[in-house]
Amino acid sequence: MLELIPTGLNIDFIGKAKVCTAVSLVVILIGLGSIVVQGGLNEGIDFSGGTLLQVRFSEPADLASVRDALGTIGLGKSIVQHFGDEREVLIRAAQLPGAEQVVAQKVQQTLQESVSGQTVELRRVEIVGGQVSADLRRQALFALFYAILGTVVYLSGRFEAKWGVALALAAVLFVLTYSITQWFPGVSPTVLIIVALITSTVFGIVLDLRYALAAVIAIYHDVLVTVGFLSLFDKEFDLQIVAAILTIIGYSLNDTIVIFDRVRENMRGQRRDIFPKVVNDSVNQTLSRTILTTGHTLLVVVAIFVLGGEVLHDFAFALLVGMISGTYSTVYVAGAILVYWHNYSVQRQKGRPSTANSGAR
């Protein structure tokens, strides 16, 4: 039997939780910092509107001369870069539709004239207007909102076996967001997302839905890390990236569910004070499947990243980052939160009887 992780291996994961929490925070802060420094997310034309042209030259193209040629038709400010290989050039212009529908034709003609003896093929044209991009952005945010909502509600029901509570949470979130949209028509979905996050977190803390909350915070961690990395590597945010993030939200839970189920199983009939040890044991016991499942999926994502072509490149990149982060966060975010929470409530309970005693005296 081939084994990735030898049976009986016991690594002290939880012991390093503090260091890793710090690392997580630093990574997230760097990512968020890079977004702030760049003045927001680097939005693709899906969300910002504009024109995207993909052109293929028959021979390797010189970006400077492409830029010069574009300058002659007033598109000198376009972003010009190679796409995949040297012959393929991606041009991003601020041009909106309507103003000039023939922009694509004009670019092709101009580029054709700038290189003699070469063929210039217009491979892709995407022109997105301001209204459409605003709609797409709104839809993307709502998609995030509902994905998080659905996951939070499902997890509350699933982990805590309290479907009534989960339904109540769903109802509260629904009524709350619905009334916000009624009171403030046209409210940004971002506000709804933040409201939903805060509400569900408070709900989780007050009702002690610790497993669900720990899992959900691990998801937030993965999304933040992914977004931060995309910003650091100057990747564009478009609909595909949103699809990748939604996939990460769904997928990064898988390991968490396996480990948490194991914690439950191992805690049955155990004394509460060995909880941190049980969490650590559970992580160790499930380590090989955690690595194997993520590993397999990473294998296929790497295949997409390497061979899937330029169009899928950033998508695969986002999935790679998110899945690696998802595995890490299973142990060091979700597991760590369970332990922190346990320690905190143990301390509180220790404190309580003594104050009660002093009060009685």
Partner: protein, 515 residues
């Protein structure tokens, strides 16, 4: 073999056979998205307010005619945009006949008296709403006719929201030409020329407007400004009076022109117009641009007119199409335009297939090395997963579309499908380590891993369903394949691989499991 096991085998064989039947040959059975086969995706916004203005202008003209026919002393009848129609009389009319005429067109409209001679017709809100809706419906119908005449296989034209139209033309090569054909309002007017501006910035004389003249640059083939004309505001003949239009080669200069034939009403008006205005110029105006302004040499009784502009055969043919099918009720703005060339589409397919092959072989190899014989079982399940997913994608009633992100979704679900097997196999190993028999370990492995598999799939499907709801275009294809892939993996990774295990355990006495 037991009866239940036979049933299970039967079910698996049936599902796989059905999938193969549906999916073969895949290149014909699977509907490819625009990003894979190339083509054009357009979103148009109908400028409905313009449509209302035009409709009100037409209504004003109709009311004017009816009022005159009733013998009322009409001075001016003038549309005021969407507000309504101003009706001025030289002698104060009675309310009765006036209202009767207006009600004929708008039963719930109001007619207000401002002074005895000055009245105002205000359309009802419902009437305006009806104009808006019908202008979008009409525009959609016209665009559909144009595309049909242009000749595109499997076009998809649909309404989105209240005033948008989505046009999808798969496999189209000359996307730029299609954009122009679809986006053109094609409002044709024949208007008498008053004069030519003597200097730039000159004010048009009363009752006329300045329209630009465009001429084709013989070098670039683009239409460029070439001065302008003051033409009468009122069109004598317009595009709705056309009986036919077609492209005709011009023997003289090897270019094409468009020959128009007017219907009977147009023929009469055109004949009178040319008879009364010999020596004047008649501007042929398309979407407020003058194409030519020939001098009327003699009365033209036959009702034929031509638009010349040194057109290429394609330009002339497209112009004839839009004229024949008629003008859009209002201009449309193209607010989204995505075109993928066929070469990029086929490159994407090749990339997708290469990535799928690499991904699948890595996974297959790993399973074999790590789980040996059990890995082989998982690989069989994986292969069936792929076959069934493709079969479902090809299912005729489902209308699923395979896009590039969709291919990524299939590859991804191959990885995720294996997750289920890993969870099961790791559990079986664990049970074996505890000293259970092969049979008991396999049973326990499948049973106890089930809930974790279910949960992880549910959360991924939640995300995929949300994406399907909110996503558009290629990304929607990803949601589709992700959902199908995960659902199918429940069948293959659990049901199929368990059935294989059960069969082996029943047929042979297994004391040691290769896992």
């Amino acid at each position: 073999m037991g009866r239940d096991l036979l049933l299970k085998h039967g079910l698996i064989v049936a599902v796989v056979l059905a999938s193969v039947l549906f999916a073969v040959p895949p290149q014909d059975k699977i509907h490819l998205g625009l990003d894979l086969q190339g083509g054009l995706h357009l979103v148009l916004e109908v400028q409905v307010e313009k449509a209302i203005e035009r409709a009100m202008e037409r209504r004003a003209e109709a009311i004017r005619r009816d009022l005159i026919a009733k013998g009322l002393s009409v001075a001016v009848v003038e549309a005021q945009g969407a507000q309504g129609v101003r009706l001025a009389f030289s002698k104060a009319p009675d309310r009765g006949p006036l209202e009767e005429v207006v009600r004929n067109y708008d039963a719930s409209g109001t007619v207000r008296q401002q002074t005895p001679e000055l009245w105002f017709y205000e359309p009802a809100a419902a009437e305006l709403q009806h104009m808006r809706t019908s202008s979008v419906d009409q525009a959609l119908e016209k665009i559909r006719n144009r595309i049909d005449a242009f000749g595109v296989s499997e076009p998809s034209i649909s309404k989105q929201g209240t005033q948008r139209i989505v046009v999808q033309l798969p496999g189209l090569q000359d996307t730029q030409r299609a954009v122009e054909l679809i986006g053109k309002t094609a409002q044709l007017d024949l208007k008498l020329v008053h004069s030519q501006p003597t200097m730039p910035g000159a004010q048009p004389p009363p009752g006329t407007q300045l329209l630009p003249l465009k001429k084709k640059d013989p070098k670039t083939g683009q239409f460029i400004d070439a001065g302008g004309y003051f033409v009468e505001r009122r069109a004598q003949v317009s595009g709705d009076m056309l009986a036919d239009a077609r492209a005709v080669p011009d023997q003289a200069n090897a270019q094409y022109y468009v020959l128009m034939r007017l219907d009977n009403r147009g023929k009469k008006i055109f004949e009178r117009l040319t008879r009364e205005n010999v020596g004047k110029s008649l501007a042929i105006v398309l979407d407020d641009v003058v194409f030519s302004a020939p001098v009327i040499q003699e009365p033209i009784p036959g009702g034929e007119a031509r638009i010349t502009g040194n057109f290429t055969p394609e330009e002339a043919r497209d112009l004839a199409i839009v004229l024949r099918e008629g003008a859009l009720p209002a201009p449309v703005a193209i607010i989204e335009n995505r075109a993928v060339g066929p070469s990029l589409g086929s490159d994407s397919i090749a990339d997708g297939i290469r990535a799928a092959l690499l991904g699948a072989s890595l996974v297959v190899l790993f399973l074999l090395v790590y789980y040996r014989f059990s890995g082989l079982i998982a690989n069989v399940a994986l292969l069936l997963n792929l076959v069934i997913v493709v079969g479902i994608l090809a299912l005729p009633g489902l209308g699923a579309t395979l896009t590039l992100p969709g291919i990524a979704g299939i590859i991804l679900t191959l990885g995720m499908a294996v997750d289920a097997n890993v969870l099961i196999f790791e559990r079986i190993r664990e049970e074996l380590r505890l000293g259970k028999s092969v049979r008991a370990a396999v049973d326990a492995g499948f049973n106890r891993a089930f809930s974790a598999i279910m949960d992880s799939n549910v959360t991924t499907i939640i995300a995929a369903v949300v994406l399907f709801q909110f996503g558009t275009g290629p990304v929607k294809g990803f949601a589709v394949t992700l959902t199908i892939g995960i659902a199918v993996s429940m069948f293959t990774a659990i049901f199929v691989s368990k059935t294989i295990f059960e069969t082996i355990l029943r047929v042979r006495r297994v004391t040691k499991l290769s896992i």
